[in-house]
């Protein structure tokens, strides 16, 4: 193998300079061929290449090979020596409100919950803020694509899948209007002792009736010649013609069963369970019905005092063993700024039974399959989009998740963010102070 080192240094220098000059500016389309040499490649489908060569061209992966057997031609290529490092397919974050809010406590920045109970026509992509300061901090940990999902009501609206590097929402779109989100009605959970029981009114059966009627009407609308456009039912069409998935957000075992039976009864084929905290109780039922699961945050407390302390940590393993297709999300408290921890939740699942590559699949290929984008994303395979990153070490472990390069469709991302900028600013200040202190001594 012969490489002109001078050329490389010069190239990478140019690159660095370029990055600093245009901090957090969306990256330019891929120009030259990009070659990543020497990293351990985690393909995302369970396989590993210890010493890999990955070539990216025109935004696509054109070669993934064992580097020890190939002759490398680096002419006219951006070459990256990533020996000893790790390459991963970009992590995918399903069911997130990233870009729909910036600061929890500031109402003006919150854009994820519209008024109304049945809102399939509400589209998340409209409010998606590509300039949210939170976004660059997420991709710095390897999360490059997300399913932007509205919240609230019984049907919160329609999600879209975006890339986390864009000038505007149209630019960001990866898959528009991929699914409708239904929050399965919950039996009122009564809290506290009998003396101070809260809201005991049971809306559950009313809500169910409302849903029955809504889905019947929506289907009837779908099947008729449209005399006049009905915006709400029109937004449901995709659920019946198969172009949109129905994501049912439900947590309890009983709720999951009810939701699955409901969808069957209504003749809806493509459903995905979201949340599904108690899926571990009925993993076989879910597997038998061949329904996939977007599992709620692994770093979560058990929902009952009686539950195993680590039940949330080992749910992925239970689903894996049952043969359920599942992926991980990060919904809940501080879900946007916290979602950069998604890879570590997969890491925890390893401590509780998964193999590392299985855990990786739960935030890459599985997610892509569940969201219906696996033809383009989710693994380091030839023909797929060049959306991937390089980490100094194991990206599922906090201590070693250090991303040096990330690409979205071959575009080389600026990995700085508001936080790293502040860090540099103050580090410089203190380094200078410490230096002057030392020299004073």
């Amino acid at each position: 193998m012969h490489i002109d080192m001078k050329k490389i240094n010069l190239l990478s220098f140019c690159f660095c300079f370029f990055m600093i000059a245009l901090a957090q500016t969306p990256a330019q389309d891929q120009g030259k061929r990009i070659m990543l040499y020497g990293a351990k490649a985690h393909i995302g489908n369970g396989e590993i290449i210890e010493n890999s060569l990955i070539v990216l061209e025109n935004g696509k992966i054109t070669s993934v090979e064992d580097a020890s057997n190939v002759r490398i031609d680096i002419s006219n290529a951006a070459y990256f020596d990533v020996i000893g490092k790790h390459v991963y397919p970009g992590f995918i974050l399903p069911n997130t409100t990233l870009g729909l809010a910036d600061i929890d406590a500031v109402r003006a920045t919150r854009d994820f919950d519209e008024v109304g109970e049945l809102n399939p026509h509400i589209r998340s992509i409209i409010a998606y803020n590509t300039d949210s300061p939170v976004l660059p901090t997420i991709r710095t940990n390897g999360i490059l694509v997300g399913q932007i999902t509205p919240k609230g009501g019984m049907i919160s609206g329609t999600s879209s899948i975006v890339e986390f590097d864009a000038w505007n929402y149209e630019d960001a779109l990866y898959k528009e209007d991929d699914g409708v989100h239904l929050n399965w009605p919950r039996k009122p959970r009564l809290y506290g002792d009998d003396k101070h029981m809260h809201d005991s009114k049971d809306h559950f059966s009313e809500d169910l009736k409302t849903l029955e009627k809504f889905f019947d009407n929506a289907k009837s609308y779908y099947l008729t010649q449209k005399p006049q456009l009905d915006i709400t039912y029109q937004a449901m069409e995709g659920v019946f013609d198969g172009s949109k998935q129905l994501f049912i957000h439900v947590s309890s075992a009983k709720g999951i069963k009810q939701a699955v039976l409901f969808a069957e009864k209504k003749g809806i084929n493509k459903i995905v369970l979201v949340g599904a905290e108690e899926s571990w109780r009925i993993a076989d039922f879910i597997a038998e019905h061949e329904i996939s699961v977007v599992l709620n945050r692994v770093h979560r407390l058990p929902s009952h005092k009686n539950d195993a302390v680590d039940i949330a940590f080992k749910t992925p393993k239970i689903l894996q063993d049952a043969g359920v297709l599942y992926c991980l999300d990060y919904e809940g408290d501080m879900e946007r700024m916290g979602s950069r921890n998604l890879p570590f939740t997969a890491g925890t699942a390893v401590a509780y039974g998964l193999t590392k590559e299985e855990a990786l699949m739960s935030i890459t290929l599985n997610t892509a399959q569940i969201l219906g984008i696996d033809n383009r994303l989710g693994s380091l395979e030839v023909g797929k989009d060049a959306t991937l990153f390089v980490s100094d070490g194991d990206a599922l472990d906090m201590m070693t998740n250090k991303i040096s390069h990330a690409f979205i469709r071959g575009k080389h991302l600026d990995l700085s963010n508001h936080q790293t900028d502040l860090y540099e600013k103050y580090k410089k200040k203190y380094d200078a102070e410490l230096e002057s202190e030392n020299s004073a001594e």
């Binding site: 406590a105 300061p133 005991s200 058990p302 005092k305 700024m337 599922l396 906090m398």
Partner: protein, 1001 residues
């Protein structure tokens, strides 16, 4: 009928008893006082003494005599009570009889800083010492009847409203005017920790209620000393202090709080319990505290749906099983108590529940005492009430059988010599098979059922329902014949019953009802068998469950003991100058680390019988210390005032928080439980060790330096509290500074005032005005005197600067800035001041003020030489603090050893407990964690967690615990299904309240 008899007796009593002597009479005065003689009954003089076929003579309100050989005066009205039992009437020491009930206040978003009470009363609406029940008490015949029906003759009546509730009245349950029924005004003084109808913001927390009660008592003493009578509440409270104090608690953990106040003010509280006292029994059994126990046992839950049942906690199930044994468990520990019907929604169930306590092991003797002599003594009326003796009040009960017999019925309840029929004594048993002859036809006629409720029917081809009513001696019979025609009859006599009636067509006819055979009672003893119960398991089901510590999932059957353990071949993270020792060893014994490193261990390894753990591939560290936590508390924020320095988090401990166990599973061994961040000066912190299963008192870290929580920024200025919350000072960071200056300035002045007072002689003190004792300022003064440290919730650099300046100007050091997300901007200033930092690893963007928070903060601060820790402020994250520490490695390139100290040694230093915990050093507490792997790796698990050398968590113990939980749950579900109500009382399953607190809650 019942209703009629009530009316009837009301009328009689008006006739019988002349109104009070000084009352004018409308008509002619009745002057004759008859004598009643009750004969042939078994008279229970008290729980120990009975008189067979005794005689009880009653005249006026009193007992003339009781005994066997007593002359019955000729003019006595004789009551033949053949076979019946006579008992002294019950006394309920806890009721609101004859008083208005006030609704608890509901949440109102509009702040109310002052009291709504008009008049010269307390500043706080929850303090009502001026209330005296005897001033507003009215007799209430409906309520009196309900009490008499369950055996009560007198009750203590108080108003359940507020923290200080005023004085009660002891009243008799007759139907006279209040003047006649009042036995004793101001019989006791009442307290609670619930503010009731008060709509004022303060207090908004449990510990705030306690602080307010304490402060108010000091206020009353102070006002009295200074002869300041301007505040009527304080005047009355001072009078109340001389009365017998009764405090109402909502939870057994609060017994400890009442005891502390009792000790502080030498008040011997009688505790009105909540029915779960058995859970704290070991703590108070020697205290001689007397209790008033409710008998509202939980009903069985509807456990028929296995999924819904998941929401039912083992804690609730276990309490369901043991609650009826509460009294019996207390009694066997020698605790004295009285019973009350207060909490029973259906008062009619009272006697059933008394019997249930007896079925659960309480002796009949103690049960009867708890209804009679004990409450009489509690209320200091034992000379007049509680037993049947010559000269005492004629308050007694007539039961048809022994009162503890499940079939027994209360027949009459005599109050102050006046009889009240509860269940009329049946003079004739009409039950049997009859022939009804009417209008030329003969019909078979059946009377069955119970004496109280007859079931009557005509059994021709069809069975016809018959209405059979007795009115004095006339019997009214009506039914619809086979042609649906209504027949109505009225007759008299016992057997036969004869009379006349009208047919449907209006013809008058005569009829005869002749008894053919007597009624044969069918044996109803065999209960319907419940299909869900396996007969072989019946024995098991009847056994009482064990009491665990705490009595819930993962509770201990036996608490862990201190172990002697030797870890070998293990990587030891010492946190000392030795650093990380590979292939090393460590020994613990008697709660302490006794040797670290192969050399020291070798020296002692034969000294004790160690359990040896081969730690190959594993790591050993000191336990994780969480500087900022809100677990194990029942409330967090007393945010209603700018300063709540008077409140103590230790008062609000909730030792049965499952998060203690969960965090042990994450290697946490010590946690600082902080007040919330709703106000600039919060409350006094509690430092606990994670001693799962211990009492609140036992959880507290021994001899730890006291701390207080301060807070800055958006929370204290109520930025995110909605648009109503714009009233309470401060609303800006400018105001926050002034809160501190004001508090510290006043604390200094306070100190001066008291120092001057202490210099006075006793006589001078008598003549001087005593300074006002202020719990809030006393705590703040401790800060100035270096007896208390501060941990301050902080975000923005400006306010961090400000507080350090305040501290500098007042000559003290701000110990810890907690959260401190912009600490990195003022690191050099913090260093100069000497403040430490306890921050988050990577939180940001949840509020405006954390926009500049960065995950490199901890590393930058650490690099600058500031003692830096990572905290959780979150029950979930707390169990993964080992991984949070790793984020300092990731984001800020901190060394692994330093990063590990962020969650162990550094918080120990910040908390001033590093002499005992925080590193692996011989002599320190054996608070250690065995990790499966590198302690900061995401792939690592805590395999064992020790506190004080006791193994509180291990993977193996956890498996055992889970199994035990499941077996116990199953047993209890089966038992509930087999319960009296089949577990299908429709009692909805309620999920236990979630106590997931953050600062802002």
């Amino acid at each position: 009928m019942k209703y009629l008899s009530v009316l009837f007796f009301c009328v009689v009593s008006v006739l019988q008893v002349p109104a009070q002597e000084n009352f004018p009479v409308n008509g002619v005065a009745l002057t004759y006082n008859e004598i009643h003689a009750f004969i042939n009954a078994e008279i229970h003089v008290n729980a120990h003494t009975t008189i067979q076929r005794g005689i009880l003579l009653v005249k006026n309100k009193e007992i003339l005599n009781v005994g066997q050989a007593i002359n019955i005066p000729e003019n006595a009205i004789i009551h033949n009570l053949e076979g019946a039992h006579v008992y002294p009437s019950f006394i309920d020491p806890y009721s609101n009889y004859g008083l208005d009930n006030l609704e608890n206040s509901t949440w109102n978003p509009r702040p109310q800083l002052e009291s709504n009470t008009s008049g010269s009363y307390s500043w706080n609406q929850a303090l009502k010492p001026e209330f005296s029940a005897s001033e507003v008490f009215v007799t209430n015949s409906v309520a009196a009847t309900a009490y008499r029906e369950i055996g009560f003759g007198s009750v203590l009546s108080f108003r359940a409203d507020g923290i200080i509730r005023g004085a009660s009245a002891l009243v008799s349950l007759g139907s006279g005017e209040p003047q006649e029924e009042l036995i004793k005004a101001n019989a006791s003084a009442h307290y609670s920790f619930s503010k009731g109808s008060s709509s004022q913001n303060y207090p908004s927390s449990f510990m705030g209620s306690i602080a307010l009660l304490r402060q108010s008592i000091y206020d009353a003493i102070w006002a009295n000393h200074n002869k300041d009578y301007s505040n009527l509440s304080l005047v009355e409270l001072h009078k109340n202090l001389k009365l017998k104090p009764i405090i109402e608690l909502d939870n057994h953990y609060a017994i400890r709080n009442a005891a502390a106040i009792g000790k502080e003010f030498k008040m011997n509280f009688i505790v009105k319990g909540s029915g779960d006292e058995y859970l704290s029994l070991s703590e108070f059994k020697d205290s001689k505290t007397q209790f008033i126990l409710p008998l509202n046992f939980p009903e069985a839950y509807d456990v028929s749906d296995p999924y819904d049942c998941l929401d039912l906690s083992l804690e609730k199930m276990k309490h369901w099983e043991l609650a009826p044994a509460n009294a019996s468990l207390l009694a066997s520990a020698g605790v004295t108590f009285a019973f009350t019907a207060y909490d029973l929604k259906n008062k009619g169930a009272f006697l059933k529940h008394v019997r249930k306590t007896v079925e659960h092991g309480l002796s009949e003797e103690i049960a009867l005492n708890s209804l009679t002599t004990i409450p009489a003594k509690m209320l200091s009326i034992a000379d007049q009430y509680g037993l049947l003796k010559k000269g005492m009040k004629a308050n007694f009960l007539i039961f048809d059988k022994n009162l503890f017999d499940t079939e027994s019925t209360l027949l009459e309840n005599w109050v102050h010599g006046i009889g009240h029929t509860i269940n009329p004594i049946k003079e004739h048993d009409y039950r049997g098979s009859y022939i009804l002859k009417i209008d030329g036809t003969i019909l078979p006629f059946e009377i069955s059922g119970t004496l109280e409720k007859l079931k009557v029917q005509i059994t021709t081809k069809d069975t016809l329902k018959v209405s059979f009513k007795l009115e004095n001696k006339l019997i009214n019979i009506s039914y619809k014949d086979e042609n649906e025609k209504l027949i109505r009859l009225s007759g008299q006599g016992l057997d036969p019953i004869e009379g006349e009636g009208q047919l449907a067509n209006g013809d008058w006819v005569s009829f005869v009802l002749k008894k053919k055979s007597a009624f044969v009672e069918k044996s109803s003893k065999t209960k319907k068998s419940n299909l869900l119960i396996d007969v072989n398991k019946v024995q098991l089901l009847n056994e009482m469950g064990e009491q665990w510590s705490p009595n819930m999932a993962y509770g201990w059957k036996e608490k862990p003991q201190q172990k002697a353990v030797l870890f070998t071949n293990i990587t030891v993270w010492t946190n000392e100058k030795e650093g990380v020792l590979q292939n090393s060893s460590l020994a613990i014994y008697d709660g302490k680390i006794i040797a670290v490193g192969n050399v020291s261990v070798n020296a002692i390894k034969n000294k004790y019988a160690f359990e040896i753990i081969d730690g190959e591939g594993k790591h050993l560290t000191s336990g994780i210390i969480d500087e900022h936590s809100h677990i194990a508390l029942r409330s967090v924020n007393e945010g209603s005032q700018a300063s709540s320095a008077e409140v103590q988090m230790a008062d609000a401990l909730r030792p049965n928080d499952i998060n203690i166990y969960r965090q042990l599973a994450g290697g946490v061994t010590t946690s600082q439980l902080l007040h919330g961040s709703a106000n600039p000066i919060g409350g006094q912190s509690a430092l606990i060790k994670m001693r799962w299963g211990a009492s609140a008192q036992e959880m507290l870290f021994e001899d730890a330096k006291p701390f207080i929580k301060f807070a800055l920024g958006e929370n204290v200025k109520q930025s995110n509290w909605g648009s109503y919350s714009r009233v309470r000072f401060p609303q800006t960071r400018m105001g926050v500074e002034q809160v501190y200056f004001d508090a510290f300035t006043r604390a200094r002045a306070y100190q001066k005032e008291w120092n001057a007072w202490f210099r006075l002689s006793a006589s001078q003190k008598n003549e001087s005005k005593m300074p006002h004792k202020d719990l809030d300022l006393e705590c703040i003064l401790e800060i100035l005197e270096d007896q208390r440290e501060i941990t301050c919730h902080s975000y923005r650099q400006s306010e961090i600067n400000m507080l350090m300046q305040v501290a500098d100007s007042m000559n003290f050091t701000l110990n810890t800035f907690t959260h401190i997300l912009e600490g990195y901007k003022v690191a050099e200033k913090m260093k100069a001041h000497g403040a430490g930092a306890s921050t988050f690893s990577d939180w940001w963007a949840y509020k405006y003020e954390v926009n500049d928070a960065i995950p490199h903060n901890g590393s930058l601060l650490n690099d600058m030489g500031i003692v830096t820790a990572f905290n959780s402020d979150d029950a979930e994250m707390a169990r993964r603090l080992n991984q949070e520490a790793a984020k300092a490695v990731k984001y800020g390139n901190t060394s692994e050893e330093d990063a590990w100290k962020f969650v162990t040694l550094n918080p120990a230093k910040l908390l001033h407990v590093d002499a005992k915990v925080g590193s692996l050093l011989a002599g320190k507490d054996a608070d250690i964690v065995l990790w499966s792997n590198h302690p900061m790796s995401i792939y690592s698990k805590a395999e064992q967690t020790y506190v004080d050398g006791r193994l509180y968590y291990s993977l193996e113990l956890d498996v055992e615990n889970r199994l035990r939980n499941d077996v116990e749950r199953n047993r209890l579900i089966q038992k509930m299904l087999g319960a009296e109500d089949g577990g299908k009382s429709g009692r909805k399953i309620t999920k236990d309240r979630s106590y997931h607190f953050h600062c802002n809650d």
